[in-house]
């Protein structure tokens, strides 16, 4: 069971913007052949995504302690990243150095990690009621 909260929606909007900016700046640098600076967008992207996940994840847990071991945020990140990436690829805004094949391989590898996370998530659900930890329901 996945639960959509206001904070999760805010997270999705934020990472969509971050991912669009990342994709465009990376492709622009590659198209401009500024190879020395190519490491910058992924580095900033990684840090931004980490901080967004940390900030919204903490806020979300404080609002409602859903015991999903971060699966909703992971799934959202996965969907947003590939939705944005494939859309930009489809629209032809990616550089020649970013072929569709790289996205496909990334999708498969990341998909395996997501699947493993899903198995742990299902296991964690055994100790919850409607997604909330049984030991943390009543005060």
């Amino acid at each position: 069971m996945t639960t959509t909260t206001k904070t999760l929606t805010q997270f999705i909007v934020s990472i969509t913007l971050i991912t669009v900016v990342f994709r465009i700046t990376l492709s622009s640098l590659l198209n401009s052949e500024l190879y020395d600076y190519v490491f910058i967008p992924p580095a900033i992207y990684f840090i931004s995504m980490f901080l967004a996940g940390r900030y919204f994840g903490k806020k979300d847990y404080k609002f409602l302690p859903i015991g999903d071991i971060g699966f909703r945020f992971h799934l959202s990140t996965f969907v947003v990243f590939f939705l944005v990436s494939y859309t930009i690829n489809y629209l032809g805004y990616m550089s020649q150095w970013e072929p569709r094949r790289i996205l496909d391989v990334t999708l498969m590898i990341w998909g395996i990690f997501l699947l493993v996370h899903f198995i742990f998530y299902l296991n964690a659900q055994k100790t919850t009621i409607k997604g909330l930890d049984k030991n943390d329901l009543f005060e």
Binding site: T3, F63, L64, P65, I129, K130, G131, L132, L137, F138, E139
Partner: protein, 123 residues
């Protein structure tokens, strides 16, 4: 000595009481958070005080679990207030909890033991 021991025991005893008091306040009638807080402090003889944030946090969980529901009603000033009430599930839950954990204090034997202690103290 007794006072310190009592304080220490009560601190432990109070943990886990908030849910019961919130449910009791809602069985008394639908309430918004300030009224729940007032009810708890009044009827627990101020032995139990709670932060509004704790009540909000609990109510969000109970809403998610379908134990409570709310109606929006206009306040005196400002935005509408959420008036919380128990759902049928919440009502049944409180009934079962009381039956299993509270009613036993009204057993003849337990009542006599509690009264005996009280009498002893009076002597």
């Amino acid at each position: 000595m007794i006072s310190d021991l009592l304080h220490s025991w009560e601190e432990t005893y109070k943990k886990g009481q908030l849910t019961l008091w919130i449910f009791l306040s809602l069985r008394d009638g639908e309430k918004y958070v300030d009224e729940i807080k007032e009810f708890i402090e009044k009827y627990s003889n101020k032995t139990l005080s709670c932060e509004e944030q704790s009540i909000y946090r609990s109510l969000r969980k109970y809403l998610h679990l379908g134990i409570v529901e709310f109606n929006l009603k206009g306040g005196n000033k400002g935005p509408d207030r959420k008036y919380y009430s128990l759902t049928k599930t919440g009502d049944s839950l409180l009934d079962e909890f009381a039956k299993r954990n509270i009613s036993l204090f009204y057993e003849k034997k337990i009542l006599s033991l509690l009264n005996q202690t009280q009498n002893d103290n009076n002597d």
